[in-house]
């Protein structure tokens, strides 16, 4: 049987697709409210700082960032192929690298709370 890395890239895509379907709209709504000057209480500096101080919240935020970025990256890779970009290895390298770099940065900032 041929060895394939498809499950490794596809698994987080499916998980991320489900997660973003459930939570991304409401999370965008929270920052949209802030954009309209009606920031929810949670976005106040002290509260958000304390909230992110809990280890469970850090793990959850890191997980949401990773799965969101990975599923977006995977979808962008497929979209590039659909649009006629055939340099799949180059595209895959760039999009997954951005997803991992974004996750790494988020983890780094999370350790500061």
């Amino acid at each position: 049987m041929a060895i394939s890395n498809k499950p490794i890239v596809w698994g987080p895509f499916a998980a991320g697709g489900t997660l973003t379907a459930f939570v991304t709209p409401v999370l965008i709504l929270l920052t949209l409210l802030a954009a309209f000057g009606h920031a929810p209480d949670l976005l106040a500096y002290d509260r958000l700082h304390a909230f992110l101080g809990h280890w469970l919240v850090k793990v959850a935020v890191a997980g949401v960032v990773f799965l969101s970025l990975w599923s977006a990256a995977h979808r962008l890779r497929i979209t590039c192929y659909d649009l006629g970009v055939r340099a799949d290895v180059a595209v895959a390298t760039v999009v997954y690298a951005v997803a991992l770099a974004g996750t790494g940065a988020a983890v780094l900032y999370l350790t500061k709370f």
Binding site: A21, A35, V65, G84, A105, Y109
Partner: protein, 133 residues
């Protein structure tokens, strides 16, 4: 009968014009483009984490940035794309995970409907817990 060797094989041109050939293809592409907004918004939030880690002044600057017209426009478009992603994802759920009870399959509408109910409850819960209302 001798087969003719084709010295000039047909190379199918790769274009993206197919998107506009059928509304269904266009809807597919709109769904796929949601990744730019979900990914973009997430990266914006990673930047927000950096600002929050730097202190109250940097966080205030981030909140101020959120209020810019560019940010408001981006948020509105991103919200639309994200919601469209949810809508398409939940409607695909019964196709991806057909649920069988006994001899019969649970109707697609019931599986999708259950997802929409959970989505609505979760959205309301997050808004409430975040103190949005």
């Amino acid at each position: 009968m001798a087969e003719e060797v084709n010295r000039k094989p047909y190379v199918r041109p790769v274009t993206s014009e197919w998107i506009f050939r059928h509304p269904r293809y266009l809807r597919y592409m709109v769904r796929e483009f949601s990744c730019l907004f979900i990914g973009g918004w997430t990266l914006m939030m990673v930047w927000g984490l950096k600002q929050l880690a730097e202190g109250p002044a940097a966080w205030a600057a981030f909140l101020e940035f959120l209020k810019s017209p560019t940010s408001i426009a981006f948020h509105l478009i991103a919200l639309g794309f994200a919601a469209y992603h949810s809508y398409t994802w939940f409607n695909l759920a019964p196709k991806a995970m057909p649920l069988q009870i006994g001899e019969d399959f649970v109707p697609d509408a019931a599986v999708a409907g259950a997802h929409f109910v959970v989505w609505a409850v979760l959205t309301a819960a997050v808004l409430y817990l975040a103190g949005a209302f």
